[in-house]
Every structure is written in C-alpha cells, then in structure tokens.
Symmetry: C2
DNA sequence: CCGCAAAATGTAAACGGTTACATTCGGGGT
DNA sequence: ACCCCGAATGTAACCGTTTACATTTTGCGG
C-alpha cells in the first residue's frame, strides 16, 4: 500500500492568481476570517474587516468561482437552453433573463441551436454542476418524453411548452388569437382564413384553438378555411394561392405568425391583390419587420422581455425554496392595429347567420 | 490550538448526486481508474474500462464540472461580453460563437447590457474562474484605458475595437464604405451626403474614413456633406431635412448604418421625395429589415456569424498556445444591390472635375 | 520457477474556497 | 481574583476531480 510520501505541497506551480491564502497571510489573519469578511455574513471586528478589505483590493483578489461553487454547491449561474439563439424573439428572451438575473447576482450560461431532442438532453446534463437552475424552451418537442433520461434534478422552468411537472411560463396565444379574431369580426369579417403553424408546436396549436373558437362563435368554423404552414415566410407565400382560389373568397386572413403574414403580403403584391382593400391580413408576434412592410401589419404584440423576466422570477423562487408555488404563468398580449386590415366589403356573398353562440 | 476533532466525514448530507466515488465503489476499482477511463487518455485494461463505463451509465453519473474545473484549472467555457444581447447583430454574433465553440466542446457564458465601462470591468473580473477565455465587444469605449484594472490575465479577443495588446477581429468597415461609395460613383453620383455614426464608435469612424477617401478621389470631400447621427432611426430621419435643404442638393445619401437609412427613408416618404428617382439612398449592415422596406435598401452585407466563428478560432488558439500568432483579422463585406439607388439624374448642376486621383 | 520490466491500478495530495467546531480574548458579575 | 459568557478568530475537514508517485499484476525470457 502507498504510504506517506513527501508532501506535494507547492509541487504544482500556482498560476499566478491571488488566492484567499495570500490575502490571509498578507493581512495577518486566517483564511476563515478573510472569507467571513468577504461574504459579510458573520461577525468580524470592524478594524479587522477594514484591514482585510484593504489587502484584498491591493492584491486585486478575486475569489475563484469554481472553488466556491464546489464548496457551497451553488454556482450563482442559471442555464438557458433554447432551440435557437438568433432572431429577434430569442435574443429578446435572453435579454429579459439576463437583465433580471444579473440584478439578482446570477450569471447566465446560454446554449442554443439544438436540432434534436437528444442533443438537448446532452446539453441539459452537461449543465450539471455548472448551473443552479434552468430555463428551457422547447416548444416543438415533448420534453416530457425525455425527462426521465435527465441525470439531474435541477430546478427548471419551461417556456412555451406544456409540462405538468415543472413551472411553465407561456404566452397567451389562445387569448391573443381570440383578440385578433374579434378585431377582425368587428371590422365585419366573417369568412376568415387561417394559416396554421407547425403541428407539434405548442404556440401554433393554441393560436389555432383561439381561431377556431371565434369562428365557431361567428357561425363558421369549417376546416376548409385552415391552411397548413410552418412559420416560415415561404409557407405564408404558398398559402395565398389556394386561399384566393376559394369560393366565396375569404375577406381576411389571419396568419399564425408574422413571418407567414409577411410572406403572404409578398404574394399579394405579386398577384396584384390589394391589401387591405381587397383582403385584410393579420399576423401574430409583432416582430420588428411587421412595422416596415407595406402596408404595416396589424398583429398581436407580446412582451417578450417580460417573458424572460418572469421566467427568472419563478426560477429564482424554485431555487430558493426548493420548489415553486406557482405552476403556470401567462404573459398577456396586446392588439397592434396598423394598416393591413380594413372594414370588410361585405354583402358580396350571403351573410351566414349566427348558428349558435357557443363561446366558452 | 485546535486539535483533532472527530472526522466530519459524511456529516454533510450529499445532495443525492452520484460522484466518482460511487462509481468506483460500485465497479470495485479506485477513483483514479474511473477518472482514467472517463478521460480516456491513459492505459486501462479493456475489461476494466468496459465495466466502469457500464456502472457509470447505470448510475447516470455526470462529473461535477466545478470540481473538475478546480482541479485542472480550466472550465471548457468561454465568456462573451457584449454591450447588448438583443438585436439581430448581437444575437448573430452569439450564434456564430456558440456554433463554433460547441463544436469544440466549449460552453458559452454570455453577458450583455453593460452601460458603462466600470460595469463591464466588474463583469470581466467576475468571469475569473468561470471561463478560460473571453470574447469582448466594446466598440464604444476604449477598453484600453481600463485594462490595467483587470485582475485577471485571461486569453481574450476583441471584436470591433482597437487595441494593440489583444488579437482583434474587425469588420472591414473602411473597405465596405469604399465599395459602396464606388458603387454610387459608378451610377454617376458625385455629390453624396453622409450620415455619420457615433463619434466614439470604431465602426462609425472607419466608415466615415472610407466615405471621405472616395469623396476626395471624386474631387469633393467638403465637410458640409457630412451629418451627425448616432445609428438610430431617429437620427436618420432628422438628417434628411438639412440634407435636402442643401444647394445644390446631393443626389445620393450614404448612411453609416441601415437603421439610419431606414429612418431617412421614412422621412422621404413623408416629404414626397421619391427614392431612388429623386434621391438615391444606401446603408450599411444589411439588417433583415433592409430587405423589407420600400424600396428595398441597397447596402453592405457583413457575414456576422463568420465574425463569431473567427473570434472563437482565434481565442481557441490563444487558449491553446498561450497566445495567438495572428493579431488582427478582418471580415470582408459584400455589396448588396437592391432598389434604393439609381443612376444619377446629373447635369442639373455643374459637374465638378476630378481634381486628383488620390486612390490608395 | 524466478526475476524483472512493463502495464495496470491504487493512494492521497492538491485545486481554492466555506464553515463546523475549537480556541482565545475581553470584559462584567460575584 | 475567578468564573463565565459571548464575540472574534483560528483550524482543518470537506466539496469532487485529477494526477504524481507508489504499489501490485502481468507477461515473458532464462
């Protein structure tokens, strides 16, 4: 068996970095005292404290985070896992979380561009020991399926995903869609087409639900007015052709997101159909571009930074207390009226009577 | 003096997390062997290795990053410090770095929204022990002034900042501006106004330099054609009034960035001046909106993701070798011709002869 | 069989903090 | 004086890895 060999003390050269021991030695106190002074929680004589602080500053001492993390088992860092990191939407989420977390003394570790669920799981595992909590956004995939594979049990809050085991912050997609539909209805539109988002996307599903609810209330609601899409401009562009071919032609189109609405707008411009005179068009998200297209797009605005802020607040609570009380929060939306929707030039076709008022 | 008190072993309850000791015990080997298997560098008998791997997997063992970081003194993480985290530009930079770094097994720690230099210095210090290297973007302030205050000596690469002590990746602002100016000149424009960016912004300065260089070559170059701006839409909007008041009126405007060009476009739309028939307009950056405004904006495109990619490459080298060989890299730009610039309707005023051909 | 180098594995000291517990110090009460 | 008690400070175990060096095993020629 290995027996006492010479102490290896100082065998490794220290990397030049100042440690708490250096400060302690220089100040003529123990490391414990230095630690106490720096963390400020315990009793230390005023004079000792001043002394230590002075030495620490003169030595430019900065605590080693890894060591502290190992010791107290928390890193003062939260992880953010997103499907993408670019684009107005995601960067705004990051910004919201960054602002809130930094105010609370937390750093953020970001990871994006996860094409598939397995890659995301790997990333989530890799965060262990690095972060105290996670904000995860995985609208397209059911993280639920993979949850059991997670090696850790970190506090975690989900954005725009349905999950019954973790607190969730969602956008009020359903309410927003209803708001827009009611706006359209108030302009006299009854025959309103809808360009859907991806099948498995939670946001898309809720928006569709809102659309259908109002359509039923208006007495419509046939599936022939719903068209497939995948949130891309291309999909919006492509959806226009079958929509205008419909007879009677819809008087308005509600696209599940702005990108598709913008694509549709391009298609209308090409085909010479005038928006909003001949066709009203609405989107969802209020991305910056919505303001610049011609005509400017009427859409539903979402306070994305607020989404990030709330996400952090809930996560902070979960990290503090062990688990959050609030299980689900919802971010409200606002109707942004611009120029892409006009009063319906109705009367050209029979007005369908309201069959039943099955509003929920 | 404190003498041997009872060993505190197991006094603290372990947080349920599986450690390397658990794996070692279960596999009937020492922690050293487990570590060797997992890191795969040293000699371990095939069978032992298989055995350990099996146990590790069944126990869902994930190494504690903090401990490893403390031990080997590297975190496999790089820090990114930006003035902002939102907006197309910054998120695209993050994306570029994220992609490159993840491919190399690194995580990224992001921090943005630093209003002043001191805050940024604090952040840089707080990164110590957390990251192995830094990518810093501080175009507006001279980090140089504050460098001495940095407690650490981390490998670091700067984006769009001038600094002679660290490797720097910059956008070819000067070349891009010259390219645009030459394009404008080739369309027959000689009297070209320029809307400047912030005084202390490095990008803005270089673009101005490119503008001036070509103007001199064209025989112009008086300061009366330069207008103040700060990269905001508002500034672009406001600059239009004095520009059109000029006599003779310029035939083209080159805005130091797209946002200002977009603002100018709005002003022209309001005042009924037609772009590009009566006035050509060009921007810089090729932000997404440039494609959607009416008319679509002619501008200079920059491969921002490439900027991030290269930044990581240089940083990786610096972290590897201790210091980088390349001190400065430049990201090229491309001319993006759209519809906002037309041939000059010259002849309405005297064509100034080319005084000297001082092209560099 | 033995000896011996090479291969495989084990032992325990770092890494740089935090903190439980021990120790010392400094009055006030009796 | 002496004792006691709280405040201030010191000591060293511990967090979970990596790894230098020690030790044990293995394989093989003599």
């Amino acid at each position: 068996m290995a027996r006492q060999h010479e102490p290896l003390r100082y065998r490794r050269r220290r990397g030049g970095a100042v440690t708490i021991h250096d400060v302690a030695a220089r100040a003529g106190v123990s490391v414990a005292t230095v630690s106490r002074v720096l963390n400020g929680k315990e009793l230390v004589r005023e004079e000792t404290s001043r002394q230590v602080l002075e030495v620490a500053k003169s030595l430019r001492y900065v605590p080693n985070v890894a060591a502290r993390t190992l010791s107290i088992r928390r890193s003062q860092t939260i992880g953010i896992v997103l499907p993408e990191v670019h684009g107005e939407f995601f960067s705004e989420v990051i910004r919201g979380i960054d602002l809130a977390s930094r105010a609370a003394g937390y750093h953020i570790l970001v990871s994006g561009s996860h094409s598939d669920a397995n890659e995301m799981i790997d990333m989530l595992d890799a965060m262990r020991g690095r972060v105290d909590g996670l904000v995860v956004m995985a609208p397209d995939l059911t993280l639920t399926t993979y949850r059991e594979q997670l090696a850790h049990k970190l506090p975690m809050v989900l954005l725009n995903s349905d999950d019954e085991r973790h607190p969730t912050i969602t956008i009020d997609n359903y309410g927003g869609a209803r708001t827009m539909m009611k706006h359209l209805a108030s302009l006299g539109h009854k025959r309103i087409a809808f360009i859907k988002g991806p099948e498995q996307n939670a946001d898309a599903r809720e928006r569709l639900r809102g659309y259908r609810q109002v359509m039923r209330a208006l007495g419509g609601g046939s599936r022939e007015l719903e068209f497939d899409g995948d949130f891309t401009e291309r999909a919006g562009y492509d959806a226009v052709k079958p929509i205008v071919a419909l007879s009677p032609r819809p008087t308005a189109i509600f696209a599940a997101n702005d990108s598709m609405a913008v694509g549709a707008l391009a298609a209308f411009a090409e085909s010479g159909i005038e928006v909003p005179r001949e066709m009203s068009l609405a989107g969802f998200d209020d991305i910056p571009i919505a303001h610049y297209v011609n005509p400017p797009l009427t859409t539903i605005g979402v306070d994305i930074a607020e989404l990030g802020r709330r996400a952090f607040a809930v996560l902070a609570e979960a990290m503090e207390k062990g688990s959050s009380t609030r299980r689900e929060e919802c971010i409200g939306t606002t109707l942004v009226v611009r120029k892409s929707c006009a009063v319906s030039n109705s009367g050209t076709y029979k007005t369908r009577g309201r069959k039943k008022g099955e509003g929920s």
